[in-house]
Symmetry: C2
Subunit: 330 residues, 2 copies
């Protein structure tokens, strides 16, 4: 295992120290329990938007804490759900009197622990579960579909709604609309290695890729020989489009995501192909996001996410955001 770490047992807290050092103006990091909080929290009168999950998917979620997006993120151990006390701590630090919305990716442990925290919290708390991965029905860590790339778009859009003053019920309703309109799928060219495990999560032959991979290296739909970029993009985009389905005339946000180890030159290349395939179907790409935003440590591979946009979602997507990983209008 070759990694830039000191000790597999302290990777998460050591990385949090670096995040705090890198973004002193944006973040306030707490270590026991581990919570990344917006520096000016609690914001009075604003719904607190809180998310979290296993570490190893950076910048998700800590990199999305800040104005116009998350009030707090709860980082679990690598690929492990955060505990209820982390979520409770985040709620108590961020509730500015308008309650808190918990954004939960659909994994069994996450759903259970966020739910427990929601029940124990003294604040008014609602939660939404995102399950945008079309690859598989159930999986290693999930009943139902997994939450993946759509989470990034949901956190941005509902974060902007909370920032402009939408109340908790409105934030929940908007979240449900985004969740109903977003679909994703990913592929892996290589595995990743969890630090405290020390060996690759799975094995892929030198000429193989896994289509429909999960963000923890969970199995997908099939292993096939590595093809061309056009074949890869089509293998992801076709099931995504057919699932919702996205149709000619739809306006969409296209999010082309690296799993962590794929360089930007390949990601842009794939993005260009995806734009062309969507144009061929008469689907209009109105907004884009290209980069490593929800990753699986050093895994090489990519995912595509499509969100069907309406005017309000576009306005909220374009609204100012100031976080370590996404920033515009500020």
């Amino acid at each position: 295992m070759k990694k830039i770490i000191n000790d597999p047992e302290t990777v998460v807290q050591d990385a949090l120290r670096g995040m705090q050092a890198a973004h002193p103006d944006l973040l306030s990091v707490h270590y026991d329990p581990a919570v990344v909080v917006r520096a000016d929290a609690p914001v009075q009168g604003k719904v607190a938007i809180i998310s979290g999950g296993g570490s190893g998917h950076e910048p998700l979620h800590g990199g999305f804490v800040g104005r116009g997006m998350l009030d707090a993120a709860c980082p679990g151990a690598v690929f492990t759900s955060p505990t209820p006390d982390q979520v409770l701590d985040a709620v108590s630090r961020c509730d500015g009197g308008a309650g808190a919305l918990l954004i939960v990716k659909n994994y069994t442990g996450d759903v259970l622990n966020f739910e427990t925290a929601g029940e124990l919290a003294e604040s008014e708390v609602r939660s939404v579960v995102i399950d945008d991965d079309v690859a598989v029905k159930d999986s290693l860590y999930t009943a139902g579909r997994r939450g993946v790339g759509g989470t990034v778009l949901l956190e941005k859009i509902v974060g902007a709604a909370a920032e402009r003053g939408d109340d908790l019920a409105a934030c929940v309703a908007l979240s449900e609309r985004v969740i109903a309109s977003v679909r994703s799928m990913g592929l892996a060219l290589t595995s990743c290695t969890v630090p405290h495990v020390g060996s690759p999560s799975f094995e892929l032959a030198d000429d193989e890729m896994e289509i429909g991979i999960g963000i923890h290296g969970e199995p997908g739909r099939q292993r096939v020989p590595v093809g061309t970029a056009s074949e890869m993009v089509s293998a992801l985009l076709t099931p995504i489009v057919e699932d919702l389905p996205f149709e000619a005339g739809d306006r969409v946000l296209l999010f082309t995501n690296s799993m962590g180890g794929t360089p930007l030159i390949e990601l842009y290349l794939a993005h260009g192909i995806a734009e062309q395939l969507l144009a061929d179907r008469g689907i209009t790409v109105e907004r884009r996001l290209v980069g490593p935003y929800i990753t699986s440590l050093e895994m090489q591979g990519m995912s595509l996410t499509l969100l069907r946009l309406d005017d309000e979602m576009i306005e909220l997507w374009d609204a100012p955001v100031h976080t370590p990983a996404l920033r515009w209008g500020v």
Copy 2:
């Protein structure tokens, strides 16, 4: 070779198509010769800031085209200098009457081809050569030190100066001041594979890392067993600090860069260690940049860059920038 590409021979132009699709509002991409141009070029009365170099280091340089940074970038083939006609084309598209500054990384081919273009151009053209890598004196592609991470900081700072209206002579003088104040060094945990070569650029054993690696995989100072993150950061930071030298009381920008395949969790971890080591020396980190900004395809590894700041550099660093890879204040 596992890559998300269609054809090793067309990787650069295929990726440029994706960049154009992803950033229609920011960039205007030309393909013959290949030049990435700011969408509103030429900006009348503004010095044009132009850079370029081999592809495979994305987002450098095309990702830094836009308001407050570069007017154009000339992407060569992967790890190959751009040709003089690319640079000439960039100059003619971007000169708004105030001349052009060419920012050249110190590699023999780059220096020669940018120099040739400067001589052939009808515009007033000056060039500066950046050579911030303290690892080795000469190398495979260089007489003298190599240009690496400092290039990103130089492009941002001199780009802001041009944007506020500094003339060509002032931009040259500022560039020389930045170049005199910036030092870098990198390390690799894994090699990378150039698409049209198809095999790794070099071999590293499972327990080895290369200290002082170049951004094309050129040999560095030494191969040593993989150590802890603290040992790695110290192995980079000590020679950087001692070279200038940076001294107690200095104010610096610390840039912690991924070589492309290193995940953000490791990069933040390393950044935190570097901040602590600088604090121990009485050096004040005033600004930071953490992420994959000058890469070597999918290479795992990192580099550190330190820039000694003065008030004007801080003002120019903070000035608005709107490019695919760096954006703030807009």
